[in-house]
């Protein structure tokens, strides 16, 4: 066990997408934050399994913090994506009405979008819809077109945020779970599985463990009840079946089952919304997966001829509140960032801006530095990848066309992949149709020897 005490001005607990974005911004403000992540790599929890969409906020609750953060995050993503080499698949979204009742709700969705200042949203008729999406089932009656909804890479974006934060003087500790803490003389002493950390400020972005970590500071004002979402990923030929993100008319509880392409050239159907107590166990189940596939085929009949590549389940940190739970506790030198339910990928950069403002108001200090840009390798299928552009490429993963050089690069450097999951998220290796039948032995061998050294 470590006996020495680590020191950090600010400790951010949780390396999900929101923690990574906060880390980036505070580092760029010169505040030298320390990001601690319980898992073997960033994105080990809620952020590893989402639907990878960049939302306009057209359907978010009016006046909510969530909406403000999403729209600020959306704008910042567009500003920085090229400098960080992040993709944007400009897909648009369609909220499709499948019956008369849903059709009657479309004008309300348009009004709400306009209210939320997403002005280009409009209703289209079923002819226009069929022209745009010829593979949709015949019973589609009409839709709301949301031009600004896009598809992004959910893994490379947070990786880029962390890398930029590191370049600006931040530090990251992985396999470091916070287990407790004491507040003494205006400062925190955090107990972790990797030794104690003394810090002047704690930011709790612990996702599905948010209320447990919050209890270190105070009785948590919210309770996290993880909401599981299962997804089915179809193989690449299926991506031709939908151009836009196909959204259902939402209900009170959930945005419902979405069909959309992924940045990796697949087609995704999901998520479900299933509340559970367990914070780590994200099981898929056959009955639900079959229902998802059936649901997909109901909307796009040609999916019947497509094969499944992957299935996964993510846990969204839902609380009893609809809105984000973000709050600065000046006296306790603590900032709570909780309940980032399902819009965290879009909202992350906006939440980071908001947290930086709270920090400025309550704790002062920080001056925005000239940004150091840390572009990440492209793994999106919609932009050129190394196997297409570089000579002498030795392909290791044949399904996702990942080169040996990409794998070894992800396993080396100052912020190498911390575990096999992290390696997969950085390169896509083993994530294709064969799920490692061909490349699994070689990839795990490369990974294990890198992790051992």
């Amino acid at each position: 066990m470590t006996t020495s005490v680590d020191q950090a001005g600010i400790v951010i607990i949780g390396g999900g997408v929101v923690g990574c974005a906060i880390f980036r911004r505070l580092a760029m403000l010169g505040l030298k934050p320390l990001l601690v992540e319980a898992g073997g790599d960033i994105l080990s929890g809620a952020s590893k399994g989402n639907s990878a969409l960049l939302h306009t906020g057209f359907d978010a609750p009016f006046g909510s913090l969530e909406l403000a953060c999403m729209q600020a995050g959306y704008r910042e993503y567009l500003e920085i994506k090229d400098k960080l080499n992040l993709p944007l698949v400009e897909s648009t979204a369609l909220v499709v009405a499948w019956d008369e009742e849903q059709l009657s709700k479309l004008p309300g969705i348009v009004d709400k979008a306009h209210h939320n200042n997403v002005r280009d949203v409009r209703q289209i008729d079923c002819n226009d819809l069929k022209r745009r999406e010829p593979h949709l089932a015949d019973h589609a009656l009409g839709a709301v077109l949301v031009p600004g909804e896009h598809i992004i890479d959910p893994w490379s974006a947070p990786l880029a945020y962390v890398q930029q934060g590191l370049a600006h003087g931040g530090r990251v500790k992985r396999r470091c779970r916070v287990t407790g803490g004491r507040f003494e003389n205006g400062a925190w002493m955090l107990e972790t599985t990797d030794g104690d950390i003394a810090t002047g400020l704690v930011i709790n972005v612990a996702g599905n463990y948010g209320d447990i970590v919050e209890a270190i500071c105070r009785p948590s004002p919210f309770k996290v009840t993880p909401r599981k979402g299962q997804f089915v990923v179809f193989d690449k030929p299926a991506s031709k079946l939908a151009q836009a993100i196909i959204l259902p008319v939402p209900t009170e509880r959930t945005k419902g089952i979405v069909i959309c392409r992924t940045a990796f050239g697949n087609l995704l159907v999901g998520p479900t919304a299933e509340d559970q107590e367990d914070r780590a166990l994200a099981e898929v189940d056959q009955v639900t997966l079959r229902q998802l596939i059936d649901k997909g085929r109901e909307m796009i009949p040609a999916l019947a001829q497509q094969t499944v590549n992957a299935v996964y389940a993510g846990l969204r940190p839902a609380t009893e509140f609809k809105d984000y739970q973000i709050e600065a506790l000046s006296e306790r030198r603590w900032i709570t960032v909780g309940g980032i339910r399902s819009t965290g990928l879009t909202g992350a950069l906006g939440i980071a801006q908001h947290v930086a403002e709270l920090h400025q108001q309550h704790f002062g200090g920080g001056l925005m530095a000239e940004p150091i840009w840390t572009p990440v390798p492209n793994i999106s299928e919609y932009r050129p990848r190394p196997y297409q552009t570089e000579a002498g490429m030795d392909i290791v993963c044949h399904c996702e066309w990942v080169t040996r050089r990409e794998v070894t690069a992800a396993l080396s450097g100052s912020f190498a992949a911390g575990d096999l999951g992290g390696l997969k998220r950085r390169t896509r290796c083993m994530m294709g149709r064969c799920q490692g039948f061909y490349c699994g032995a070689e990839v795990t061998r490369l990974a294990e020897s890198a992790f051992a050294s």
Partner: protein, 408 residues
């Protein structure tokens, strides 16, 4: 960007496994040297390369060999031909043009004729839609054999083996080689899929219990496999284990074929072929496990050799571009019959070879009728996992306008 490099060959063979190398070997024997073989792995040889146990080569080379020796022998047989490893085909264009990338960067290879010998792979955990968490330690035989035979690794101590196909017994031998004794072999049906005495060998020689009528219902473990749940009889049982090997349920590796313009058969899930193993584009031929999922290496070898004969014929006498193909109509209980179509104008004297499987155990009379007249029949007793094959003289189908295959 500079103009992409290009080259051409009389025959391009995609896939350096038993089918592809056997075709190359036959072409070489026939005196054809302008052949390029494309293999994406570091070495050619295909699946036998990492099947470290015996059972190969008896019919092809008249001696029993272990997989790696067999793979090496196949490679030796094509010595002198242009075999390019580390070379990945990216797409198949109409007319036999293939786009590849490899040590020399992206390039285009124009084949007068192209053989697709892309092989097959097992169905992974995801596509089986298995319930449970997604821990490490769940893999197919393909990955296990590479770990054990190519890398000398031992991924687990006490795994379970799901399935009882021929490959499942190959898995048992692989595990024995690694010094791992699996806890059980699990089969949902009331008998093993492979031929007897596979179960007796498992039980008595390898000491592995075979649990029939047992269905895998859940995988347990967050980071690593901790166990499984199975449904047996009326109850759910939990088995503590540290690995799950999902064996079999092979499907053709059609990732390149699906996006191309080549027709795919819904039954075999492989490319549609005629009696000369020619695909819907007459520049392309197909052989081996790409045609239907799994058969033995020996079977693939014979198909590769047969394909070489058809390719040589086609090089000598090019097919007309507008061909009138007659579909081979087969309904239940067949899950597939191939060739899926016949060119009734072809004038070769080679006998026509049909292969098929049924979806459920079937007993009856198998018959082929041409234009409504039965031209051939025999009685059969077929099980779903057994290949059915039969041969007809070429003359039987000449001038056919309608071909039906039935079991009554």
């Amino acid at each position: 960007m500079s103009e992409m490099k290009s080259t051409s060959a009389e025959v391009v063979i995609i896939g350096g496994g038993p089918a592809g190398l056997s075709c190359a070997r036959s072409l070489k024997k026939a005196g054809l040297r302008d052949v390029i073989i494309l293999e994406r792995e570091t070495e050619a040889g295909g699946i036998p390369r990492h099947c470290g146990h015996g059972g190969y080569g008896l019919r092809e080379f008249t001696r029993l060999m272990q997989g790696p020796a067999y793979a090496r022998r196949l490679v030796d047989e094509v010595d002198g031909l242009d075999l390019r490893t580390h070379t990945t085909v990216l797409d198949l264009k109409p007319g036999g043009e293939v786009r590849v990338t490899g040590p020399h960067g992206p390039m285009v290879i124009a084949g007068n004729k192209v053989l697709l010998a892309l092989g097959a792979r097992e169905t992974p955990r995801s596509a089986r839609l298995l319930t449970g968490a997604r821990p490490q330690g769940v893999m197919n035989t393909g990955m296990l054999q590479q770990m054990v035979y190519l890398q000398g690794r031992k991924p687990f101590q006490r795994p379970v083996v799901i399935g009882t196909e021929l490959v499942s017994f190959s898995t048992l031998l692989t595990l024995r080689h690694a010094g791992v004794k699996p806890l059980a072999m699990i089969e949902a049906n009331d008998r093993i899929t492979a031929r007897r005495p596979g179960d007796l060998i498992a039980r008595h020689l390898l000491g592995v219990p075979v649990l029939l009528n047992t269905r895998l219902t859940r995988i347990i473990g967050i980071d690593h496999v901790e166990g499984i749940e199975v449904e047996r009889g009326r109850g759910i049982e939990r088995i503590a284990c540290d690995g799950v090997i999902l064996t079999g349920r092979f499907r053709p590796e059609t990732a390149l074929v699906v996006p191309s313009e080549l027709a795919i058969d819904a039954g075999t899930q492989g490319p549609r072929i005629d009696q000369n193993m020619c695909c819907s584009d007459p520049s392309y031929f197909a052989a081996g496990n790409l045609l239907r999922g799994i058969e033995t290496a020996g079977q693939c070898f014979r198909e590769g050799a047969a394909a070489a004969g058809h390719i040589l014929d086609a090089l000598r006498q090019p097919l007309p571009t507008a061909r009138k193909l007659v579909p081979v109509r087969a309904t239940a209980p067949f899950s597939y019959v191939y060739p899926q179509c016949i060119d009734p104008t072809l004038g070769t004297d080679r006998p026509l070879l049909f292969k098929a499987r049924v979806a459920q155990a079937t007993r009856g009379r198998l018959s082929v009728s041409v234009n409504g007249q039965t031209v051939w029949s025999r009685s059969i007793c077929a099980l779903p996992e057994r290949r059915i094959d039969w041969q007809l003289p070429a003359s039987a189908l000449r001038g056919a306008e309608r071909i039906d295959v039935n079991i009554n």
